[in-house]
C-alpha cells in the first residue's frame, strides 16, 4: 500500500470542499462535508480498492487519514 495514493483516493470521496491540502495527518472529520454519506463513500472506496471491510467503529475511532490507512494496512496484511 502507498500512503500518498491512499490520501488521494480518500480525498476523492469529498465533492464539495477543496482537498488539495489533504495529507496523511488531515483530520478528515473536521470539515463541513463530513457526514454519514462521506463515511460510506470512504468505506465503499476501501472495499473496492483494497478488498477490506471497514466497520463503523474503525471510522469512529479514527481521526486522521493515517489512522484509517493503518487499519486498512493491518487488515490487508492480516
Amino acid at each position: 500500500m502507498n500512503i500518498e495514493k491512499f490520501v488521494r483516493e480518500f480525498a476523492d470521496q469529498y465533492d464539495d470542499i477543496s482537498t488539495e491540502n489533504f495529507t496523511a495527518e488531515t483530520k478528515f472529520k473536521e470539515n463541513d462535508e463530513w457526514s454519514s454519506m462521506t463515511a460510506l463513500s470512504v468505506i465503499a472506496m476501501v472495499d473496492e480498492s483494497y478488498s477490506v471491510r471497514l466497520t463503523g467503529d474503525d471510522v469512529r475511532k479514527s481521526t486522521t487519514i493515517q489512522d484509517i490507512y493503518d487499519i486498512v494496512s493491518l487488515k490487508v496484511n492480516g
Binding site: D15, W34, S35, S36, A39, S41, T55, G56
Partner: protein, 178 residues
C-alpha cells in the same frame, strides 16, 4: 403494525402531527434539504400535511417514519410511498445535523427491513438528484439505474440487490447491533 421498532440502537416510530416542528426544521434547512422538493416554512401547513398523511397511513398507502435516540431525541425521517401491490418508493430521507455518522446508514438499513421484511412490499423504486453525488455513488453500489432525466437518476432494486445491500451495511455497523 408493530411500531415502534427498536433496532441498531435507534427507535423507529410513525410520524405524528406533534413532529411537525422537527420535520419543518429539517426540510427548511438549506444544507440538509437541498436535494428535496422545497417546503414552505409554515408550521400550520406542515401540520396539515401530516394530518392528511395520517389518512394515507390508515389506508396503508404510505408510511412516514421518524427515528430517535435513546433519549427520545428525534434524529431524522424517511418515507415509504406510492405503495402498490407490486412496488413502492422511498424518499424524504433527512437527518439532523451533528448526528453520529452511522445514523444515516442505520436508518437506510431499517428502510429495507421495514419495506421487505415487515410490510413485504414489492420492487423498490427511488430517484436521486443528479447533483447529490455521494448518494448517487452509494446507490449505484447496489441498485440498478433504470432511467435518468435532467434532474434525477431513477433506480430500481430487486430482492437480491436489497439482500446484498443489507449484508454490506450490517457488516459495517455489526458492533452497534443490539
Amino acid at each position: 403494525m408493530q411500531f415502534p421498532f427498536h433496532k441498531y440502537g435507534l427507535t423507529f416510530r410513525l410520524v405524528e402531527e406533534s413532529d411537525a416542528q422537527f420535520i419543518l426544521s429539517l426540510r427548511t434547512n438549506k444544507e440538509r434539504a437541498r436535494y428535496l422538493s422545497a417546503t414552505d416554512d409554515d408550521l400550520q401547513k406542515q401540520t396539515e400535511w401530516i394530518k392528511a398523511y395520517k389518512q394515507r397511513e390508515n389506508e396503508r398507502k404510505e408510511y412516514y417514519v421518524l427515528f430517535e435516540d435513546d433519549n427520545q431525541q428525534p434524529l431524522g425521517v424517511f418515507r415509504l410511498y406510492d405503495i402498490t401491490a407490486e412496488s413502492f418508493t422511498s424518499g424524504s430521507w433527512l437527518i439532523k445535523p451533528g448526528c453520529d455518522e452511522f445514523v444515516g446508514l442505520k436508518s437506510d438499513l431499517f428502510v429495507g427491513f421495514l419495506a421487505k421484511e415487515v410490510l413485504k412490499l414489492g420492487d423498490w423504486f427511488f430517484d436521486v438528484r443528479k447533483n447529490n453525488k455521494k448518494v448517487l455513488r452509494y446507490h449505484k453500489m447496489f441498485a440498478k439505474v433504470i432511467n435518468e432525466d435532467e434532474l434525477n437518476v431513477y433506480f430500481a432494486m430487486d430482492r437480491a440487490a436489497y439482500e446484498k445491500k443489507s449484508s454490506f451495511l450490517t457488516s459495517i455497523i455489526q458492533p452497534d447491533i443490539y
